[in-house]
């Protein structure tokens, strides 16, 4: 009995240690270090200075920051809302399609997962470019004046974030819709509900867990966005991620960057805790970054 449990412990230990130790050293410690370094002075060469200081934390009172945080939040929330509003009917459509059509649509949705993130963003830079096709088409239709700028504004960031996040919302919603019993929709219509009413009052509550997990999967990466506002957003559309990168690479002030990273962590944890508390016991699976086709 005793011998057996010691052998068991040894087996568990040897299977657990590699990943546990790795993630402890390269994930947990670095995350904790963010807080420590925020209390360190900057080093003019771009490193971390000696001693401790509160100066960095004080610098968070920079009047520009509330604006950036607010922009980060509204862009993220709006992106999430638009993405879910689009993805829910799409998931409904995929789940109700014939197997052949379902496979095709899913396949086409999954392909963007496998293509480079940077390239997908860059493609939009080409489309939105002042000399790009979209601009010319819109001017030709007299929808905008020739000197309107499509690129380098918060709306462009919004558009591209929706574009990159949509597949992440469609897949978990489809997984939930697939398990949904569609005879409930027919029952609702049989009882006199209109199509929209049946969709909103039967289908949407039926896939609620999927909606919550899709919401988190979109919202959290949006809050941490960096590349999209950097490439299509410009100065007036900077988000928290951009400021962190600027402190790191341009100002070479690592303590300031880590103080901001701590702020980002808090901003990110807020919705996470809100959902976890509301949805206690609900399952939210891991973000399936790239589903295997």
């Amino acid at each position: 009995m005793g011998k057996k449990s010691i052998r068991n412990l040894w087996a568990e230990g040897s299977l657990t240690t590699p990943s546990f130790a790795w993630l402890f050293i390269f994930l947990l410690l670095p995350m904790l270090i963010i807080l420590a370094i925020a209390l360190k002075p900057a080093d003019p060469t771009g490193g971390i200075g000696q001693g401790w200081t509160l100066k960095t934390l004080m610098s968070l009172r920079n009047p520009n920051y509330p604006e950036v945080i607010f922009r980060t939040l509204w862009l993220s929330v709006t992106t999430t809302a638009i993405t879910l509003a689009l993805a829910t009917p799409i998931a409904y459509y995929i789940a109700r399609s014939t197997p052949w059509k379902r496979d095709l649509v899913l396949f086409l949705t999954v392909i963007p997962f496998w293509t480079s993130f940077l390239i997908r963003i860059f493609a939009w830079k080409v489309v939105l470019h002042p000399d790009g096709l979209l601009k010319q088409a819109l001017v030709w239709c007299h929808l905008i004046s020739p000197d309107t700028l499509l690129l380098y504004r918060p709306e462009a960031v919004l558009l591209v974030m929706v574009y990159t996040e949509l597949p992440f919302a469609i897949l978990p919603l489809y997984a939930a819709a697939e398990k949904f019993d569609f005879s409930l929709v027919e029952a609702a219509m049989d009882l006199g509900a209109g199509r929209l009413r049946a969709f909103l009052s039967v289908f949407v509550p039926g896939i609620w867990n999927g909606l919550v997990s899709a919401c988190l999967m979109v919202l959290i990466p949006c809050i941490g966005s960096y590349v999209i506002p950097d490439v299509v957003g410009g100065k007036g559309a900077a988000m928290l991620g951009n400021v962190i990168a600027q402190r790191t690479f341009t100002d070479r002030n690592l303590p300031a960057a880590s103080a901001l990273a701590a702020v980002l962590t808090i901003v990110m944890l807020l919705p996470l805790f809100y959902f976890l508390r509301r949805n206690k016991g609900g399952d939210e699976g891991p973000r399936p970054a790239k589903e295997v086709v």
Binding site: L15, P89, H129, I220, V231, T248, A261
Partner: protein
């Protein structure tokens, strides 16, 4: 018969168009002789010729592949043992373990990047290809673990008991029965890790030193410098490679499914 609404269908196909239109325009532009891509300046291969003459790209590709291969192999080994441990054992230790494995899946890349950068700087570790590999293993192993774990959950554990019952010791049971059966999960996780590693920009950007430019970092600097036609050409090549890989994967998968069902 209740008439179906057309709205979801229109939305779906409209969204798919939205997915592919920019990519399609990008491919088209890579053959466009006009520098800005504003109008059609005639068909050309010149951007591709220039692309293949750029030495930095080949160097960046080499770095990317080294990082991807090493971190995929390492995360397959670490991730598979993690999945087996998580599946076989329960308790406080494994709850903590699961939390650690799960975290990289939900934390924004920029946080992983900045925290590792601070960690390396604080420990005075020189940034380079080694730090990029460490960073990639850290997030790739979580994806491998999840892929293998989902395969293990579909796996009938009685099969392992059957192997023991027929005289297998732990070693033969693991290598002749367990591993062959969770191999699809390991392969899927490995493929996922590989593509994530090849594609990763944000984390690499933070932890790569000046010498360790990977392909995404190089593409990013090209985007910043604004050599648009060259990126069009490079993107098209990469897209072609991706599509080819997906196609081959699908064919292999179909054939396998056909053979066993």
């Amino acid at each position: 018969m209740i008439k179906k609404s057309k709205v979801p269908g229109v939305l779906t196909w409209g969204t798919l168009l939205f997915f592919y239109l920019p990519i399609f325009l990008l491919i088209l532009n890579s053959f466009n002789n006009s520098r800005t891509g504003g109008g059609w300046g005639g068909f050309t291969f010149q951007w591709y010729v220039k692309l293949f003459q750029t030495r930095e790209i080949w160097h960046a590709l080499q770095n990317t592949l080294i990082v991807a291969f090493v971190s995929t192999l390492a995360s397959i080994v670490i991730g598979t043992t993690a999945a087996i441990a998580l599946h076989r054992y329960k308790g406080r230790l494994q709850n903590m373990h699961y939390f650690l494995v799960y975290t990289p899946l939900v934390v924004p890349e920029i946080l992983l990047g900045i925290s590792l950068l601070l960690f390396f700087v604080a420990l005075k570790v020189e940034l380079g290809i080694g730090t990029v590999i460490i960073a990639h293993i850290t997030f790739c192993l979580s994806y491998v673990t999840m892929a293998v774990l989902s395969r293990l959950q579909d796996f009938d554990m009685a099969i392992l008991e059957a192997a023991r019952d027929l005289g297998a010791n732990t070693w033969t049971m693991t290598w002749q029965v367990l591993i062959p059966n969770i191999l699809p999960g390991i392969v899927a996780g490995g493929l996922l890790a590989f593509t994530l590693s090849v594609d990763d920009f944000v984390i690499s950007f933070f932890v790569a030193g000046p010498g360790a430019t990977t392909l995404p970092i190089h593409i990013y600097s090209m985007i910043r410098r604004g050599s648009m036609p060259l990126i069009n050409a490079l993107s098209t090549v990469l897209l072609a490679v991706t599509f080819l890989a997906i196609l081959i994967y699908q064919i292999i998968n179909r054939r396998k499914a056909g053979a066993t069902s």
